[in-house]
Every structure is written in structure tokens, then in C-alpha cells.
């Protein structure tokens, strides 16, 4: 077999290769526009903004690997945000906070279980199901907190905002932890099932893989990760807003796809999507530092994202033409 270092080989073997290049590129441009970017304070203030999306994206990435999609993650983020903002409150004690953090995580997993039940056991289309439940979850968030307000105790929020253990942003440790956990999970039997179900569910069934249970589990994981993101974003903003998760669904899907996880399932990992999510954040930074007219901001950002999504396809097209 040809075993030269071909583009195809790199793309399949190391799905995080392309997003890595993209991220380095973004960092370089960002550094050029914002020379103090790598200083502790700036780095931390950037990373703490990126972290919520990174958390949602990790969940989304796992769903995509398992052959599904989760449109309801933004709703879960909003629910968690409104729960914390209304139940803990600006005067809330740390004990109260941790108690509701636990409840939030359970709520996220419950929301994921609802998705999983519909998709795995009732065999409904993932995209339709989670689109429908996203309204349910946003609706619930609005019910809990109709108008933006509430919040959490500032000291608790600062724990998230300003912690820099060993001089590094907190987010780095969270990302490191996520990567370690993923490295473990993906090499367990469950990890193999995940890729098998996403790759070819029929073949997995004939091989006696518990397809239904695996499909159910990916949505629970995604709900859990969305709840974590909800907690992070609440500590970041310190206040409540039922609309806070709105942008995150599509951003998480974009990040995961830039990160090399295919819609068709069975391909990818978590490192790529994390870099994808950071790239999205960096692009936002670049645009604000490039002093682009506010009116053009969305357009420019969208153009960069479309380009990033298109590059692997363009490379494949050129390669096909040459062949």
C-alpha cells in the first residue's frame, strides 16, 4: 500500500491537522493586530470568553461522531443560565451555587435524555427532533426568566474570571482535562462503539453493537456538556438572560465541522473541534481589532468562516482535477 504522507492520509489519520493550521494562522494574525495578546491578563480574558463555546462544541463533536446532530444545545445553555441567575441570585452563597451547579448538570442530562429517547428509541430524525426540543428548552428558559436580570454572587463569578493557576488561564486546565478524558473514552470499548455507530449503524447492529444505547448516550453527553457551558457562561457574564445560548448552537456545529468532524459521522475527534471553537473566537477578535466598520463585521466574519469550511473541499477538488 502507498504509505506516503498524502493529504488524504493526514486528513483521515489526523482530523485535527487542518484546524490546527487554521488556529495557528488565526493566532498569528491576532498577535499581529494585538501584540499583548499572549500576556497573562489578555490571554485569560480571551480564553474565559472562548471556554463556553468550547464546552458546547465538545458535546456537539461527540454527537457528530456518533452520527447525529444536536440543535438544542443553545436551549440547554439558556436553561442553565436562567436557573443559576434566578435561584442563586446576586446575594447567593457559595453553598447555594454549588448546589444549583449540580442541579444544572442534572437538568442538562435530562434534556439530553429527552433528545436521546426520541432519536434512539422512537427513531426520529435527529435534526428535526433537536430543532423542536430547542424551542422547548428556550421556552422553558424564558419561563424561568422572562426578562434579562438576576445573577450570581460576584465572588463566585470572579473565581471563573480571574483564576490563573500556575500563571495559566483556567480554561487551559479545563481543555487539558477534556482532552485527557477524551483520550481515555475514545480508547475504551464505548469509544469504538461510538465510531462504529456513527460510521455505519447497520453494520454495527449486525456485529451486535448496542446501537440504540450508544445513540441515546451521545445526547446525554451533549446535554451535560451544554450544561457545563451554561455554568461557565453564567460565571462569565454574572447575570441571566434567556437568549444567551441562542448563537451557540450553530457556532458549535460550525466549530466541530471546521474541526474535522463530518456530518456523515464516524470521523473526527475532540481536539479538532476545540481548535475550531478557538478559531471562531479568534476570528471575532481579529475583526474587532482590525477596526472593521461595525456594519461589515458580520459579513467579514461569515466570509472567513465560509472560507475555512470550504478549504478542505477546495483542496479535494484540486486533487481530483489533477488525478
Amino acid at each position: 500500500m502507498k504509505r506516503r504522507l498524502s493529504w488524504d492520509y493526514l486528513m483521515i489519520r489526523y482530523p485535527a491537522f487542518f484546524p490546527f493550521i487554521l488556529m495557528i494562522l488565526s493566532v498569528a494574525i491576532n498577535l499581529f493586530l494585538q501584540p499583548n495578546m499572549l500576556e497573562r491578563e489578555t490571554l485569560n480574558s480571551n480564553m474565559r470568553v472562548f471556554l463556553p463555546l468550547i464546552l458546547v462544541t465538545v458535546g456537539q463533536a461527540i454527537v457528530l461522531i456518533g452520527g447525529g446532530i444536536d440543535i438544542s444545545v443553545g436551549g440547554v445553555v439558556s436553561i442553565v443560565n436562567t436557573i443559576l441567575a434566578t435561584r442563586v441570585g446576586l446575594e447567593g452563597s457559595p453553598e447555594q451555587m454549588w448546589q444549583f451547579v449540580l442541579i444544572s448538570l442534572l437538568a442538562g442530562m435530562l434534556a439530553g435524555s429527552v433528545n436521546g429517547f426520541f432519536i434512539a428509541y422512537l427513531r426520529l430524525q435527529p435534526i428535526i427532533t433537536t430543532y423542536a426540543t430547542s424551542f422547548l428548552y428556550f421556552g422553558l428558559a424564558l419561563f424561568i426568566l422572562p426578562n434579562p436580570g438576576g445573577g450570581i454572587y460576584a465572588d463566585i463569578a470572579n473565581l471563573y474570571r480571574t483564576s490563573t493557576p500556575l500563571g495559566l488561564p483556567l480554561a487551559f486546565f479545563v481543555i487539558g482535562g477534556l482532552l485527557l478524558i477524551w483520550a481515555y473514552i475514545s480508547s475504551t470499548r464505548y469509544g469504538k462503539y461510538l465510531f462504529a455507530v456513527g460510521g455505519k449503524a447497520n453494520a454495527a447492529y449486525e456485529t451486535a453493537v448496542p446501537v440504540t444505547r450508544v445513540q441515546f448516550s451521545i445526547y446525554v453527553i451533549s446535554g451535560f456538556m451544554a450544561a457545563l457551558a451554561g455554568i461557565a457562561i453564567t460565571m462569565l457574564s454574572g447575570s441571566g438572560n434567556a437568549e444567551i445560548g441562542g448563537q451557540m448552537t450553530l457556532n458549535s456545529i460550525t466549530a466541530a465541522v471546521i474541526g474535522g468532524n463530518a456530518f456523515s459521522g464516524g470521523i473526527g475527534g475532540v481536539a479538532g473541534p476545540i481548535m475550531g471553537a478557538m478559531t471562531l473566537g479568534l476570528i471575532q477578535n481579529i475583526i474587532s481589532f482590525a477596526h472593521i466598520n461595525t456594519w461589515w463585521e458580520t459579513l467579514v466574519k461569515a466570509l472567513i468562516i465560509v472560507l475555512a469550511l470550504a478549504v478542505p473541499g477546495i483542496i479535494a477538488l484540486i486533487r481530483r482535477r489533477r488525478a
Binding site: 475504551t188 470499548r189 462503539y193 465510531f195 460510521g199 453494520a203
Partner: protein, 504 residues
């Protein structure tokens, strides 16, 4: 320890279609049983019943003479029944090793998959077919990047990796080359000695006689004969597979000599694709040429390459001028039409109206803006001439029965007034009445001077309808049958690659 597995009077329906009405099979350790039958006789269904992939509707499975119930593939697997699936059960994105050991991965102390162990075990398994791989096959190669024969070998290795006592090989040799088949047969010999059993499903007579100890013949979902291989020869086997009295009442149009005198309208020279290895033939105007043979011998590639749908090498001349067809559009311009067999996927837009479906290839004729009135009138006329039973042109195609839906597929191409029709198994899943109408229509079209290339998996149709039949086997035309030699016996014998040319 002798073990046995028996299936008694198995019944299995898929919706309204009866796949098995009285299937029987007996396997004991130390023997190879060949499960034989023509296309659609229920062989694959039989294998799926005894490995638990489908739940049976009637009958009984016996394991060591005790009733058994296989509710899922897992249950059958745990009882030591392994299957090599015809439509491989491999996951293309995963590696060879991951695929083989899926669900049975050796684990380390901390619960992760023991990569070293699965790699070693895989290398051991791969060594069984050592020397027959075209490439250097490694445990961590992605299955999706392997050629078909190596995928098939991996599927076989996956089946035997958990040390079953019975292995079901469903057409496992179809994509293997002779060296690989030879090696597989040596392995089967070893398994027999090790008190294992094999159910061998194959279309190749020569292989069946080489390896099988016993046979069991299915015809239309019924087991019609079983016994020892040594008591039977290939002609008798073929006879068992064929229905005694034919229900086919259509007779061929008798104008063959006239047709041969007409001009050649299609000339194919050394046509090659991935599954065709050099096919040459001529077709005269007004002829109805059948393409026969077992499924997957290159028939589909032949039709698709003639329609410019897949890349090919070789020469194609249409009405005397050589053409290189790169896109279906170019073929359509030459007056070709392809009527696909898979209605749901290729033939129709199910949720759209009958009118839209009929006019889809022809809209260009109706100008801009579209002259809907004329289009409706033309579609109405086409519907009438096809005797299409519908509530109205605006109804969606999904409201039609299978036979009528297939008429829409045919109608949509006839509206373009093609000169050369390519038919890809058009009567699959069509009721008997509509089939008869179809046959009449095809003959009528030929009388009108159209030329038809007709692939069918139904041997009776080919014999009853066609002027000539080209039998494909392994990507080559094995034989051309016409006139007195065009009989069902000869067709089936040639399809199976049996060596009874004396009869032809």
C-alpha cells in the same frame, strides 16, 4: 462433539413479498452444505434467518435437535454461529483491527482497548490469507481504503475470529480472486477437520462441486431438494433450480431474420469499467437484447457506462458514429434513455406529482415560460398509452402502486422519444398484470423500430421476451444465447458458469 443446526419449514415475508415459504436446511459439524438457488429464491433470507438478523414468521430452528430462538444477531453469535455477510458488515471509517474485534476487544486493566493485543491477534488472523493480498495489509489500515476483495477477506476473518462452530459464507467468493478462493477452500478443509460446519452460498457451480459435501436447493422460497453432492451432477442441480412448468405465457415476436438485416445501431468494443473486463457486442435496430446472468456480474456497469453515467474505457458507436459519453446528458442527446431499476432512489421523485415526474427530462421542449397546458396534454396522452391508473396528473407519485410507478419511470423516458432504451431490471417488484403489459409494450416498441437493451434478474422474462440474450459472468460475456439455444436451462447454466456447453 457433534453439533447440528436445522431449519424446518421456515416462512418469512417482507411486507407482501414472500421470501421463504418452506425453507429447510440441516448442517452438522464436519461438513460443508451448499445452499443453492436462482436469483430471488431466498438464499440470503435463509442465511439471515439462521443468524438471527431477521425474525422468522413461521417454522422452527433446531439447535442440536432442541428448539432454538434467535432473536438477535448477538444470540446467534453467542451460540457459535458466524456469518460472512454478502453486503459486508464492516465500518469503513474504522481500521482492520478495530473492525475485526468490534464488541470483543481485549481490555486492559483500566478499561481501555488493548491495542497491542488486538494488533497481534489481527496479524495472526491476517496471516491465514498470507500471500494472497494485493497490497501489504496492516491491522491499522482503514477498511474504507481497501479494495473489495480485501474487504471481503476481512469480513471472513471477522466472522471466524470468535471461533464459531458454524460459518455461513453468503457469496463470500464472489469478489475474491482464484488464489484467495483456493486459500479459503484450504481453510474450510481445516475447519472441517476441526469439527466445524460451513454453510456455503455461492453461484459458482465449479466451487460448489469442489468444496461442498451436501446440497440444499431453494426455488421460490421452497426447499426442493437436498442430499449428498456425490449423488448429483451439475445438470441435475440446474434442473432442480428451474421451475418445471413455466407460468410465462408470452411468446417472442418472430421477426428475427428481418432484424438482423437492419442496420447496426449500437456497437460496443472492449468496454471496461471496474467490474467489466472487456465486453464487445453489436445491436441491430429494432432488436430486443437481453442481458442475463447473476446479479452483480457487471450488468449495471454495462448500462451505466452506455448512458455516460460512469467512466469507462473502450469504444461505443451509436448509429454508426463513435461516441465518447461523459455525462448522461450526452447520451440523452444521442437518443438514449436509461430506465433505472431502483424506482425509489433513481427513477422517481416520490413526493412530486405524476406530471412533474413524467416531464422531468423533457421540460426543455416546453419553452420559457413553460407551456404547462401542452405539457399536461402530452403527459395525459403518455399516461393513456401506458394505461396508467391514476387519480390525476397532479397526484404525487407516492400514491401509485409499484407497477404504475414503474410505468411513470418508463413513460418519462418514452416522452423523449428515445431510439435506444436501456432497462435496468424494470420488472423488479412489479405485479404480474403490469408485467404482462410491460412485455406487450416492449415488443410494441421494438416493432416501432426502437432498440432495447434489457437487463433482468428474472430469467423467464429474458427467455420469453428477448431476441438474443448476452449472459454476463464475472464482467465478461460468457455466451450469447439466441434461437434454439435460448432456453432457461442454458441461461441458468451459463449464469452459474457451469461447464455444459455441449447443451448449447
Amino acid at each position: 462433539m457433534a453439533k447440528s443446526l436445522s431449519a424446518r419449514n421456515i416462512v418469512k415475508h417482507y411486507g407482501g413479498v414472500v421470501a421463504l415459504s418452506d425453507g429447510n436446511l440441516d448442517v452438522c459439524t464436519g461438513e460443508v452444505v451448499a445452499l443453492i438457488g436462482a436469483n430471488g429464491s431466498g438464499k440470503s433470507t435463509m442465511s439471515k434467518v439462521i443468524n438471527g438478523v431477521v425474525v422468522l414468521d413461521g417454522g422452527q430452528l433446531l439447535l442440536d435437535d432442541k428448539p432454538a430462538n434467535f432473536t438477535s444477531p448477538q444470540v446467534a453469535k453467542n451460540l457459535g454461529i458466524a456469518t460472512v455477510f454478502q453486503e459486508l458488515s464492516l465500518i469503513p471509517q474504522m481500521t482492520v483491527a478495530e473492525n475485526i474485534w468490534l464488541t470483543r476487544e481485549p481490555l486492559t486493566a483500566i478499561g481501555t482497548v488493548n491495542r497491542k493485543a488486538i494488533k497481534e491477534n489481527t496479524e495472526q488472523l491476517l496471516s491465514l490469507f498470507q500471500g494472497t493480498y494485493k497490497t501489504e495489509l496492516r491491522p491499522d489500515d482503514r477498511v474504507g481504503s481497501l479494495p473489495p476483495d480485501e474487504k471481503q477477506l476481512i469480513e471472513i476473518l471477522k466472522a471466524i475470529s470468535f471461533n464459531p462452530w458454524v460459518v455461513i459464507l453468503d457469496e463470500a467468493t464472489a469478489s475474491l480472486d482464484s488464489r484467495q478462493v483456493q486459500r479459503l477452500f484450504e481453510l474450510i478443509g481445516d475447519w472441517k477437520k476441526a469439527d466445524k460446519a460451513v454453510v456455503f452460498i455461492s453461484h459458482r457451480m465449479e466451487e460448489i462441486f469442489r468444496i461442498a459435501d451436501k446440497y440444499s436447493v431453494l426455488r421460490n422460497g421452497k426447499t426442493v431438494g437436498a442430499g449428498d453432492m456425490k449423488d448429483i451432477n451439475d445438470k441435475e442441480l440446474v434442473k432442480l433450480m428451474i421451475e418445471k412448468e413455466s407460468v410465462f405465457s408470452f411468446s417472442r415476436a418472430k421477426m428475427k431474420e428481418e432484424k438482423i438485416a437492419k442496420a447496426v445501431c449500437l456497437e460496443v468494443k472492449d468496454l471496461q469499467t471496474e467490474s467489466l473486463h472487456g465486453v464487445s457486442f453489436n445491436v441491430h435496430e429494432g432488436e430486443l437484447i437481453g442481458i442475463g446472468g447473476l446479479r452483480g456480474q457487471g450488468q449495471r456497469d454495462l448500462l451505466l457506462s452506455l448512458f455516460g453515467d460512469i467512466p469507462y474505457s473502450g469504444e461505443i458507436s451509436i448509429f454508426g458514429s463513435p461516441k465518447k459519453l461523459r455525462h448522461p446528458r450526452e447520451a440523452m442527446k444521442q437518443g438514449l434513455a436509461l430506465i433505472p431499476g431502483d424506482r425509489a432512489r433513481e427513477g422517481l421523485l416520490y413526493i412530486r406529482s405524476i406530471l412533474e415526474n413524467l416531464q422531468l427530462p423533457s421540460w426543455a421542449q416546453y419553452g420559457f415560460p413553460l407551456r404547462i397546458g401542452k405539457a399536461e396534454k402530452d403527459a395525459e396522452k403518455a399516461g393513456e398509452s401506458l394505461n396508467l391508473k391514476m387519480a390525476g396528473l397532479a397526484e404525487p407519485v407516492s400514491s401509485l402502486s409499484g407497477g404504475n410507478a414503474q410505468k411513470v419511470v418508463l413513460g418519462k423516458w418514452l416522452m423523449r422519444k428515445p431510439r435506444l432504451l436501456l432497462l435496468d431490471d424494470p420488472t423488479k417488484g412489479v405485479d404480474v398484470g403490469t408485467k404482462a403489459e410491460f412485455y406487450a409494450l416492449l415488443t410494441q416498441l421494438c416493432v416501432e423500430g426502437k432498440t432495447i437493451l434489457f437487463y433482468s434478474s428474472d430469467d423467464e422474462e429474458l427467455v420469453g421476451l428477448c431476441d438474443r440474450v448476452l449472459v454476463l459472468y464475472d464482467g465478461l460475456i460468457r455466451i450469447e444465447l439466441s434461437g434454439a439455444s435460448l432456453t432457461k436451462e442454458n441461461l441458468i447454466a451459463a449464469s452459474l458458469g457451469a461447464a455444459n456447453e455441449d447443451a448449447i
